[in-house]
């Protein structure tokens, strides 16, 4: 998967959980949960969906590497390549 594909996938999955937040309006370096107004449960749903789409185990212990949109993107890029 290309980096562009991964970005699109995250955007799609976030759009399913927080459809009210336009992706252009967020700060990709800030706390993802604040930016998308999602709670811990939504975050879990997001990670589960991404893990399933990418067939990638995303252990709970790694969640602190996924705090912002950019962190999440980097994590997925690093671990899928």
């Amino acid at each position: 998967m290309t980096n562009l594909d991964i970005r699109a996938l995250i955007t799609t999955q976030l759009g399913r959980i927080a459809p009210d937040i336009p992706i252009e309006s967020i700060d990709p370096k800030a706390d993802l949960r604040d930016e998308f107004d999602i709670d811990s449960m939504d975050f879990l749903t997001l990670i589960t969906a991404l893990g399933k789409e990418l067939s990638l185990p995303m252990p709970e212990a790694d969640y602190d590497q996924m705090r912002s949109f950019d962190d999440l993107l980097t994590y997925l890029q690093t671990n899928t390549n």
Partner: protein, 581 residues
């Protein structure tokens, strides 16, 4: 209920604040508990005085009262003396801006130091503090501010712009909005006001029955209820912190709850300070590595958390702990919804002690039934009533309330009224308040059982309220928001079992003619609900139905939707008039 009892070692029992539950239960009096506080002249009582001033007067001003951990991980310590000065400054700001005794000061803020300073400063000034959860959307915020008649609001510029600016015009009593991070259009920058205010303030001598706190809770039908608590509640906060949570002066104590909910105020601000602990406040949301780091690095002694978080930790497994150890961790407790026995046992296997589940409600103001440090734990049970609390299982038929004394008889969990932190009313709703009391009991709305040993076991809610991630959600509030969408003809909202959150909110929607179910419409409805309600209240799932099951009088049968979704027997459907298809 088949899990093995977790017995406590005699060393643990002897070291506990309450080594012998039965003896303490027998001899306890609320008057004695009251006498352990300082009080103010002529029988006056103020929560903030007991939380801060008396410790400073007793020479403990240099002890750290609050260690605040920012999202970045940076730590800031506030001693009792500093907290005294800062809360004095906040009280002086309120005075200077003409806020008077009894005025309602709301907070809509993440876990930042200003929230804690404002809570205690508000109480010092004799005003009423009302915390709102920052993950609420504009509609829950508006309803709660209207009902309570908010006079002042403390928030951030971001939360104000996102959630309050649009509803400000509908809040005529809201005189001032303070923002903690500069000012935006319509708000006052708090920082310069605080900095120039005097740090001397004479705490207002409140009567024990003066209103101190306003917490909101959801109702099955209609608007949320404003639960009124008075300064007298501090007697229960202090005693239950000591007896149910085993807090000791000098302890490092961490309550993970947000002050937007009652736990985060009673046990996230008041009880830890009256018991002179050092409380940890973490600005960030749940994160496994971060949490284990805090427990270990901060050498936490007493940890009060919630089932959803415990289940997430459990899912990650003990390996997530890595090389960390928790030699200082003495007591772990859980509240919010019943903690499943597996999680209690997992705590025991992983930390060498069980999570101690306890039970209480916004209305009770403090812990009512608990598992104690010195008492054996039956995994899955909420424990036994606090000293000073008489609890029973009752059957209510009409106006008659009968206590069921046979072991494991199922009925409504009820308490004998009169404990200090009992609610004094639902704001402006006397009839709803009166309905909670019958036959000399406070009726909790929870169904439970008591076993032959006196342990209580939670069964379920007696009504349609939903408990998701420890938060009580009223289906009516969610349904009302969805009904505002142009495509929606009718809607029913229920809670479905979820292994992590306990329950999740699911909405069933029937569309108006001319609208067709589609994934796009589903997302549009979800976004609509989130914008109005915020992530804490909005449904996590939405399903379309041709029609919803209703009674002859037109009442939607949520119970039937739930039974069908879960594959359970449909029960009595004699009142069913129109069905789903």
């Amino acid at each position: 209920m088949t899990d093995a009892i977790i017995s406590k070692r005699s060393r643990t029992q002897l070291a506990a604040n309450m080594p012998d539950y039965a003896a303490t239960y027998g001899s306890f009096s609320w008057n004695t508990a009251h006498a352990m506080l300082d009080g103010m002249p002529d029988g006056h009582l103020n929560i903030a005085h007991e939380a801060i001033e008396r410790h400073v007067a007793d020479g403990h001003g240099a002890q750290i009262a609050m260690r605040w951990i920012a999202k970045s991980g940076a730590r800031t310590d506030y001693t009792y003396a500093e907290l005294s000065r800062l809360t004095n400054q906040f009280a002086n700001v309120l005075r200077a801006r003409q806020f008077k005794k009894g005025d309602k000061v709301y907070a809509l803020l993440g876990r930042v130091p200003e929230l804690y300073i404002a809570a205690l400063g508000t109480l010092k000034a004799g005003c009423v503090f009302c915390p709102l959860f920052s993950a609420f959307g504009p509609e829950p915020i508006q309803a709660r501010m209207e009902i309570g008649g908010a006079n002042a609001l403390l928030t951030s510029t971001r939360l104000y712009e996102r959630k309050v600016a649009g509803i400000r015009a509908s809040l005529p009593e809201l005189n001032e909005v303070f923002t903690v991070d500069g000012a935006t259009r319509g708000t006052t920058d708090l920082k310069p006001l605080l900095e120039t205010a005097s740090d001397q303030f004479e705490t207002v001598q409140t009567s024990p029955e003066d209103t101190a706190l306003l917490h909101f809770t959801s109702g099955t039908t209609g608007k949320p209820k404003g639960v009124v608590h008075v300064h007298q509640a501090v007697v229960a906060h202090d005693a239950t912190g000591r007896l149910a949570l085993d807090m000791r002066p000098g302890d490092v104590y961490w309550c993970t709850a947000d002050p937007g909910w009652v736990t985060g105020t009673s046990y996230g601000i008041i009880a830890p300070l009256t018991n002179r602990t050092t409380m940890i406040v973490d600005e960030a949301e749940f994160d496994i590595n971060r949490w284990y780091d805090i427990l270990s690095t901060e050498a936490v002694n007493v940890w009060y958390t919630a089932p959803t978080a415990i289940r997430m930790l459990m899912k990650a497994g003990a390996e997530a702990i890595g090389a960390r150890s928790f030699p200082n961790l003495r007591f772990m407790a859980s509240v919010g919804e019943p903690l499943n026995p597996e999680a209690v046992v997992w705590g025991n296997d992983t930390f060498g002690q069980p999570f101690h589940d306890n039970w209480w409600q916004t209305e009770t103001g403090g812990i009512m039934i608990a598992n104690y440090a010195a008492m054996d734990v039956k995994p899955g049970s909420m424990g036994k009533p606090l000293p000073g609390i008489a609890a029973g299982i009752v059957e209510v038929i009409g106006d008659t309330v009968t206590e069921l004394t046979a072991p494991m008889a199922m009925g409504e969990l009820a308490l004998r009224p009169g404990w200090p932190s009992m609610m004094r009313g639902y704001l402006n709703e006397q009839a709803r308040y009166d309905k909670c009391f019958k036959g000399g009991w406070y009726l909790s709305g929870d169904l439970a059982m008591r076993d032959a040993d006196g342990y209580f076991w939670f069964v379920g809610r007696a009504d349609d309220l939903i408990k998701s991630a420890g938060h009580l959600i009223g289906p009516f509030e969610v349904e009302s928001a969805l009904m505002e969408h142009k495509a929606v003809a009718e809607v029913a909202v229920i809670g479905l079992p979820d292994e992590t959150a306990g329950q999740i909110v699911k909405a069933y929607v029937a569309l108006k003619p001319g609208h067709v179910p589609s994934d796009d419409l589903r997302l549009d409805l979800l976004g609509h609900a989130r914008k109005r309600l915020g992530p804490a209240v909005a449904p996590k799932d939405i399903a379309f139905r041709q029609n919803l099951p209703k009674t002859r009088s037109g009442k939607i049968m949520r119970r039937l939707l739930k039974a069908r979704e879960m594959g359970l027997p449909e029960g009595d459907i004699s009142t069913l008039e129109s069905d789903e298809s």
